[in-house]
Amino acid sequence: MTEEQQFIEQLRSGDRIAFTQMVTTHQKQIYFLARDLTGNHHDAEDLAQEVFIKAYRSIQNFRGEAKLNTWLYKIAINTFLDKRKRKSHNMLVFKEDLSKESNNPTHPGQQAQPGNPEKTAEGRLIQEHIEHALQNLSPRERAVFVMRHYHDQAIKEIARGLDIAEGTVKSLLYRAIQKLQQKLAFYRQDLGLEEEK
């Protein structure tokens, strides 16, 4: 029995210490995936917590065929998509929850970046555009894109994790990149990425 298998057995037997260890190991990955998906700190934290609670509840169903982080990613994506679906059904949801620092690249605990304020503001502007472009994608496109681009999950793994065909993952990715390209086209020249003719 490998070390990981032993660890999984401990988790399945309800060992709370093993569970805490799993949270410590994976909390950053899961939080940042949640941050990429939701686009804001508070929803990300909420989603990440929900992922671990679901993992705790359903650890018995984890057969250990996939890696632990792939399984957690799968829970994160499905929880996110499910929440989005529920939210889109509820037409009375307050569009911008003011208690959240929505779409805010900085965390309340973070200090403002020192240095040239103009440069910092310019940097924030680029981050703002990128975030805007990302949030402009559909939830499924965003999920697939962030998994591939920021979390280094291979197309095959994403397909397995989301229970969809590889072809579907590729077309979602293709559409996502096309949309991002359209949204960010004006930067290509500014950043010297425009092909010289």
């Binding site: 949270v23 309340p108 805007h132 930067y187």
Partner: protein, 280 residues
């Protein structure tokens, strides 16, 4: 299927280096000969390069400790919900039912009298708790300073609101037809940006974090306005509108103003109470 559409099917794999050697040969061969596919591919590739500029939020170490503590609490609550240990040592209602009826009536009467006394004492308009009278004249210098910062912040918000309303409420069709001039908006935005830096330095208090955040959000929008082309920069105006809408900037400004008005009103009530007490 044309060669181009076959090749475009490989775009995603090629972008993430997931082509098999055979597919790679086929892809490279087509790209060498087809300028249209090559240009399309380059565009997608550069979009990904821009996405690489995205910075990851850095969180303080204590966030992760708190994260685990909150999770532990939620799990404990979850576990208690699953196995509720209901042990009833004492049930007042059950005990009440067992005593003779006359005792029940007596207890109810005593309870009613007690409630009456409580209401009379605490909710009568004439009754004031014997709080010490506030010393109106002794206002600390830090309070004066805070009030000055608040006033400055709200004047700043008011000016920003007027500027944003002007931009948000422009009619796009009329704009397109009339080629509007944004030089006035740019000028106002620039003067507000200058104010922003000073204001942010004064809003470092923990209880002003929300206001600080709003001013930071506004800074980004103001920068976009300051960078508008002088005439007819419709795509940029559209982006500003969407930023204002998405961040709920106007709503947040209104809430800050309401918040301030409420604080002002409660301050007024307090001072009136104090006045009355002084007269008594």
């Amino acid at each position: 299927m044309s060669e181009c559409s076959k090749c475009r099917k490989y775009f995603v794999d090629a972008l993430y280096d997931e082509l098999t050697p055979e597919q790679k040969d086929h892809f490279n061969h087509h790209m060498e000969t087809c300028s249209s596919c090559r240009s399309e591919f380059e565009k997608m590739k550069s979009a990904l390069e821009i996405m690489d500029l995205r910075e990851q939020e850095s969180l303080p170490g204590e966030f992760w400790t708190n994260f685990q503590q909150r999770l532990e609490l939620r799990l404990d609550r979850e576990a208690k919900r699953k196995n509720p240990k209901v042990v009833q040592f004492f049930s007042p209602l059950k005990m009440f039912r067992t005593v003779p009826r006359w005792t029940q009536y007596l207890a109810a009467a005593i309870l009613l009298i007690a409630i009456g006394i409580f209401i009379g004492r605490y909710f009568s308009p004439e009754s004031y708790s014997p709080e010490p009278v506030a010393q109106i004249n002794e206002i600390s210098p830090s309070l004066i300073q805070q009030t000055a910062v608040d006033d400055r912040a709200y004047r700043y918000l008011e000016r920003s609101k007027i500027l944003l309303l002007g931009i948000v409420n422009l009619d796009p069709e009329a704009e397109e037809a009339s080629a509007p001039d944004y030089s006035r908006e740019r000028q106002v935005a620039r003067s507000l940006i200058q104010e922003t830096a000073v204001l942010k330095d004064d809003l470092t208090d923990a209880n002003r974090r929300k206001l600080y955040q709003l001013v930071s959000d506004l800074e980004v929008i103001l920068l976009q306005i300051a960078n508008l082309e002088t005439e007819n920069d419709l795509p940029a105006v559209e982006m500003i509108r969407s930023g204002v809408d998405r961040r709920g900037i106007l709503l947040k400004i209104n809430l800050e103003e309401m918040d301030r008005d409420n604080r002002g009103a409660s301050g007024l009530i307090d001072s009136k109470k104090t006045e009355k007490k002084t007269k008594i």
